[in-house]
Amino acid sequence: MTLSRRALLCASVLLVLPTPLLAQEKLAVVASFSILGDFVREVGGDRVSLTTLVGPDGDAHVYSPTPADAKAMAAARLVITNGLKFEGWMDRLVKSSASSAPVAEATRGIAVLKAPGGHGHEHGKKDKHGHDHSGQADPHAWQSVRNAKLYVTNIRDALIAADAAGKASYEANATAYLAKLDALDGEVKASVARIPAASRKLITSHDAFGHFARDYGIAFLAPRGISTESEASAKDVARLIKQAREQKVGAVFLENITNPRLIEQIAKESGARVGGRLYSDALSGPSGPAGTYIQMIQHNIRAIEKALVPGPA
């Protein structure tokens, strides 16, 4: 009995000891949600030990932090958030965890896009919407690859500021990743070019694609406001169906965090094709179709092209 207890003690000491050593070697970074986590992993490489608060398929709009999150925050030496009021719960978490780590906003320097209630690309008639979200900055800036490159440079700079010794490594990682993002940007543009200009219109259940729409010229119409917190009114849904009928919207997409029945009803009534699922606010699990940021954008643009290019589905 005593022997096994001693063995247990030894084992636990062994288990406990390496942790502070590791913490000194690796930079403890907290990223607020899965897409930022992917960027940090790419740029930080193995110099960084990463904690992602809102995991795959989670909704960072209305997340409520757990004690484990506060613990990770207290131990962190750098916190990376999206900013643009995407993570409303973050300020409270920083305070309650008494974290002394600097908080870096990955969207710093990004051209702010005002969130429209309907969508800016369509004609003025439906700007009479009653949503009070309009006028706030659209926080879903990562949906444009051009913005993602700014995210990456911001994250790179924040990592260097927190860990100057890793400067060379962070810069090399960032440069390599930025090249991949350039290729991705080209891929998206080529894909959009294959869709006839008149068909570049679709409906999705979550208004997260404002930045994508602006940079790539595809119109995203949404039955809901910009936040997943609000429920659609009958007026919203009716307006959307009318609009889809009048403007001959090609496709309707399910999205990974809202009620799919509503979107199926709208598709049926407007005669649009039902596309696959678009990933907007969160990556899928590692085995899913959108395990990384690059996979997410590739998945989305392929799904969009498939649904909008006319001909056999």
Partner: protein, 294 residues
């Protein structure tokens, strides 16, 4: 507004399939939920519906985890959870010093916590909440069939147990003294309540499920004390609130979601009835001399 009556009251339903489906769904719910609500009210169990609606959550969540976004799985799960909680609460009330309300409160809280825990285990709480709570604007064939089936079953079972149910409301001891029917009827009735809540919950959301049950019943009570009229009026108020709320949600620029709009319409009828109702309405009491006549 410059709208004629047709545009105001009929056009939304002529033009849009989703509005017709919403109206059919909410009418079915009024038809079956309101009578159940009347008996819940008469048995002083008005808050039971709210408690049961929460108790259903872990079952629906388990159904979702097992079979994904499948209405049958979620409904069966919710139904099982509701029946288990109702039965356990009844058993504890009989076998311990606790009264039924206290044991129900205990079980529904445990159940609710369990539901939230199960949902969180999946890692994405919000995702599941959005899926679990239905939306009145998104009623597909499957959901409508479920609502219609539940309504039919409710009306049939209700008519079978109607007499003992009424007698038990008047004199709870009566059936026990005459036969062993009392607890059977009580259980069948609780089962109906759970069935209606589960259907309303996965089709329309908790707010509508409980609201369409209790508000029309309470409103009807302000107009009549006769049980037949209570049931008919409750159904009527439920349908009017459903139609009114939907139509409001369609026309209002403020963009009020349809679920809350329907419940607010039912709430408006309730508050108006507090003043105008023939049963102790405040306006009638204030009229001079009126109370001397009776």
């Amino acid at each position: 507004m410059g709208m004629n009556l047709y545009q105001l009251f009929l056009a939304p339903y002529v033009e849009f399939d989703f509005m017709r489906r919403a109206l059919v769904g909410i009418t079915a719910l009024a038809l079956s939920g309101a009578p159940v609500g009347v008996f819940l009210m008469l048995r002083r169990m008005s808050l039971t519906g709210d408690a049961m609606a929460h108790a259903i959550l872990p079952g629906a969540a388990l159904g979702y985890l097992a079979a994904g976004f499948s209405l049958p799985a979620m409904t069966l799960g919710g139904l099982a959870a509701g029946v288990i909680v109702a039965t356990l609460a009844g058993l504890v009330a009989r076998l311990s010093v606790l009264k039924e309300d206290a044991s129900l409160a205990a079980f529904y809280l445990i159940s609710l916590a369990l539901g939230v825990a199960i949902i969180s285990m999946k890692g994405s709480a919000v995702d599941l909440f959005h899926v679990l709570f239905g939306n009145v604007l998104a009623l597909d064939d499957q959901v409508l069939l479920l609502l219609a089936a539940v309504t039919t079953a409710t009306l049939v079972i209700m008519s079978v147990i109607y007499r003992p149910l009424v007698m038990e409301c008047v004199d709870p001891g009566f059936l026990k003294s005459v036969s062993g029917m009392g607890s059977t009827v009580h259980l069948a009735f609780l089962g109906l309540a759970v069935l209606n809540l589960v259907a309303g919950f996965s089709a329309l959301g908790t707010l509508l499920a409980v609201g369409m049950m209790m508000l029309p019943a309470a409103t009807a009570r302000l107009w009549t004390a006769d049980i037949t009229w209570l049931i008919l009026l409750a159904i009527f108020f439920g349908m009017v609130a459903g139609y009114g709320g939907l139509t409001l949600s369609y026309h209002l620029d403020a963009g009020i979601p349809s679920g809350p709009a329907i419940i607010l319409a039912a709430g408006g009828a309730y508050i108006a009835s507090l003043f105008l109702g023939r049963q102790g309405g405040w306006v009638w009491r204030l009229l001079p001399g009126r109370h001397l006549r009776g």
